[in-house]
């Protein structure tokens, strides 16, 4: 190569080498990343101890990269390049044409069996009727659209497997088929791992019959499009921005039952709210939190329904968007999130209050946390 070109290379190299750190130094340093949902690194403090165990050196690298100029832009550029060379999976997320789908690891059947046993024990320990509803995730409904040859988990068969493990005094609610029938509708978020309110509504229809009510039909609801720029967890994992952002829809039944109060017990104190929709989260990054707010150990919802039916819901976050539909049928709904519970449920609630219990989980993530074993504690 000739002289002039080498000089140009030298100038370009040195310029980039100097400009990026200078801009990084000069830029404003935030303390929290919305996209990554975590605190950013603070400047490391040198000390003999920290140098010896290298935490100072690692701290420098963390600080530099957390505050690197235009951090998310770099990551976006990298993801685009990866897709360009044929990658269909980024950071555990499949990239489809019009949506992102979480890649799930195959179930651990030993854990699954234990969880089902816990439900059986719970059902025989208590008088209340126990209903179980495992919702498939998007990867189950859209398994045919995943990248060719991508490992597929047959969620329909898996849910059936779990239902078969349950005793006859447990009522199972099949929603897989109901969801599969409407797979062309907007039933899962494109950028988040949850289902949409419409997906939840389609599952509500068969569920509410099993629970002994007739459904409130879809056209009774007024649907408010509260936001159309929701980019959820799957977007955060990939930073792939070519997928249409999601809508946050709020379902309201004008002539229906009203929610009187929502009591949130976070384990330390009890706060009361007026609505099951937490509109303040519309302004934040994780807009799914609009539905029932942050996950909390215990939430009690009171309505003006004229009956004395009380329901206990044991759930993960899939239930958050489902529960609003239940408020039309029960005077009181208690929502228990076992992931925060380390003790027997009898210490928290009085089981005699309930004649129905609904256990609602996303089928594939349910077994990853062993929290259902809490149901074994009497």
């Amino acid at each position: 190569m000739n002289n002039r070109n080498n000089k140009l290379s030298a100038v370009l190299f040195m310029t980039i080498l100097l400009i990026l750190p200078i801009m990084t130094l000069a830029s404003k340093k935030g303390t929290f990343s919305d996209v990554e949902n975590r605190n950013l690194a603070t400047p490391p403090k040198p000390s003999i101890e920290h140098i010896k165990d290298k935490s100072f050196m690692n701290g420098v690298e963390d600080y530099l990269s957390d505050h690197f100029i235009g951090r998310t832009k770099w990551v976006e550029a990298k993801v685009r390049q990866e897709i360009l060379i044929g990658k269909e999976e980024i950071n555990g997320v499949y990239i489809l044409n019009d949506m992102l789908i979480q890649k799930l690891s195959p179930p651990d059947y030993e854990k699954v069996d234990k969880a089902m046993e816990a439900i059986n024990n719970f059902a025989s320990d208590n008088k209340a009727n126990v209903y179980v509803m495992f919702a498939p995730s998007a990867g189950g409904i859209y398994s045919g659209e995943l990248p060719t040859n991508a490992p597929i988990i047959n969620q329909k068969a898996f849910i059936e497997y779990m239902y078969n493990k349950l005793n006859s005094n447990v009522t199972t609610i099949d929603v897989y088929n109901s969801l599969y029938a409407v797979r062309d509708e907007y039933i899962y978020y494109r950028n988040d791992h949850h289902w949409t309110p419409y997906g939840a509504f389609c599952a509500y229809k068969p569920a509410i019959k099993r629970l002994g009510f007739s459904e409130i039909s879809y056209n009774k609801y007024h649907i408010e499009h509260a936001s159309n720029d929701f980019k959820g967890t799957l977007y955060s994992k990939t930073l792939y921005d070519k997928i249409t952002p999601d809508m946050i829809d709020l379902y309201n039944y004008e002539g229906g039952a009203k929610v009187l109060s929502v009591e949130v017990n976070d384990g330390m104190e009890i706060k009361e709210y007026e609505s099951i929709y937490f509109r303040e989260y519309l302004e934040e990054k994780d807009k799914y939190l609009v539905y029932l707010g942050q996950n909390q150990p215990l939430i009690t919802i009171k309505t003006d329904v004229k009956n004395d039916r009380k329901l206990l819901v044991i759930k993960d976050s899939y239930a958050n968007v489902f529960i609003p539909f239940l408020t039309q049928h029960y005077r009181e709904i208690t929502v228990l999130d076992l992931r925060f519970i380390r003790t027997s449920y009898n210490n928290i609630i009085n089981m005699d209050d309930y004649n129905q219990v609904l256990i609602l989980y996303n089928a594939l993530t349910m077994e990853n946390d062993d929290t259902l074993k809490v149901l074994n504690f009497k």
């Binding site: 030298a10 040859n149 490992p151 994992k237 976050s317």
Partner: protein, 469 residues
Amino acid sequence: MVFSSLTFLYFFLPLVLSLYFISGKRVKNIILFLSGLLFYSWGEPFYVIIMIFSTLVDYTAGRIMDRYDNKPKVRTLVLLVSVCINLTLLSIFKYSSFLIGNMNNIFGTSFNDPNLPLPIGISFYTFQSMSYTIDLYMRNIKVQKNIINFTTYVTLFPQIVAGPIVRYADVEKEINNRKVSMDMVGYGAGVFLKGLAKKVLLANNIGMLWSEVKVMDYGKISALTAWLGILAFAFQIYFDFSGYSDMAVGLGKILGFNFPENFNYPYISKSVSEFWRRWHITLGTWFRLYVYYPLGGNRKGLPRTIINLAIVWVLTGLWHGASWNFVLWGIYFGILIIIERLVLGNILKKLPSAISTVYTFLAVLFGWVLFETNTLTDALRYIKAMFGGTRIPIDSLALYQLSSYFIIMIICIFASSDLFKTFINGIKEYKFTLKIYEVSIPIIQTVIMILCTAYLVDSTYNPFLYFRF
């Protein structure tokens, strides 16, 4: 510190280069020496003492040999002492666990394993500084009286942790007096970026496939997955290692040094002997100069030649790591090379070059299986899977892996063979295309630098998501 980190690229390097370029000739070595110490201590804040100690030993040995220039016995004694100290340090830190473990196994003893950590780069820098005393003893080089200059040589940050193994003789003149020019900075930047791209864009990417396959149950994987996996490793280790060497050579050029090249398209070799003349060249050179030739090389008859080769290859295996699979790996290549020398070599020459290239590549590939699996049983199970031992020739996972890594695999094949070089040389034939080539080089370099930065930033992209919440 590693080259492929933001700390190195956007903190250490701009700082050191700025200071280095603006300071005068005399100060340059001091800056290099200090930056080398900082660079090394960054990864090894405690064991930097070992490196300083071994440097001082070799410096002193050099001075004493010089002082008693006409007393051969003193010179020999000093050489032996310095070589012994170096090898002892290497043995203690690299091989003590291995030796004690084997002794306990064989003799039923129960010595405690001190579990010493392996100081970064110890295999490289001890070999480097040993080259100084040995060459000085053989009167190939002059003594280095300036301690800063000598320490600068050992701690030269481009090559201290992963080579190439730069012999003192290679840089003797440049340590004392070298020219730093814009031209060389630009050329060096190009070589450095080529290495960075090899490491960050190719090795890390294709390496993900191998890390996926490596932890699978070898009794259950399909033949295609087994082949893809080990192929991925072959590319990963080549682009990782040669990328690191390129970065070192490039940085050397930027600072005004001409380091020896370490790789020369090893995967297109037509025999295993040729492979080893193209793979990790500086290590081969070191063993040839300081072990094989002093033992008599091939000048003492066939039986001695074979013994000498055997010694060199067991040592080469051991150099790569203190465990039996590396020894086995070394012996494997030793045997192949001896066979090639005795019979196969002449046959290979007569065969069509495609066949001998395929033979060599396969031999190397099976070598990597030995290298990467921890036990011989695992290695054999893996090789069995490659030949359909699991009775699953292809499954959907293998096809998914193939389609996910197809393009990167093609790029790897292209870049590791001389196809790419031939292509570039073809372009240079014509004036018009040559012009386009020259104009596009700085653009390509800029793109590479930006892309690599994106990968480095992303490697720490770490969203904390409550997936089940």
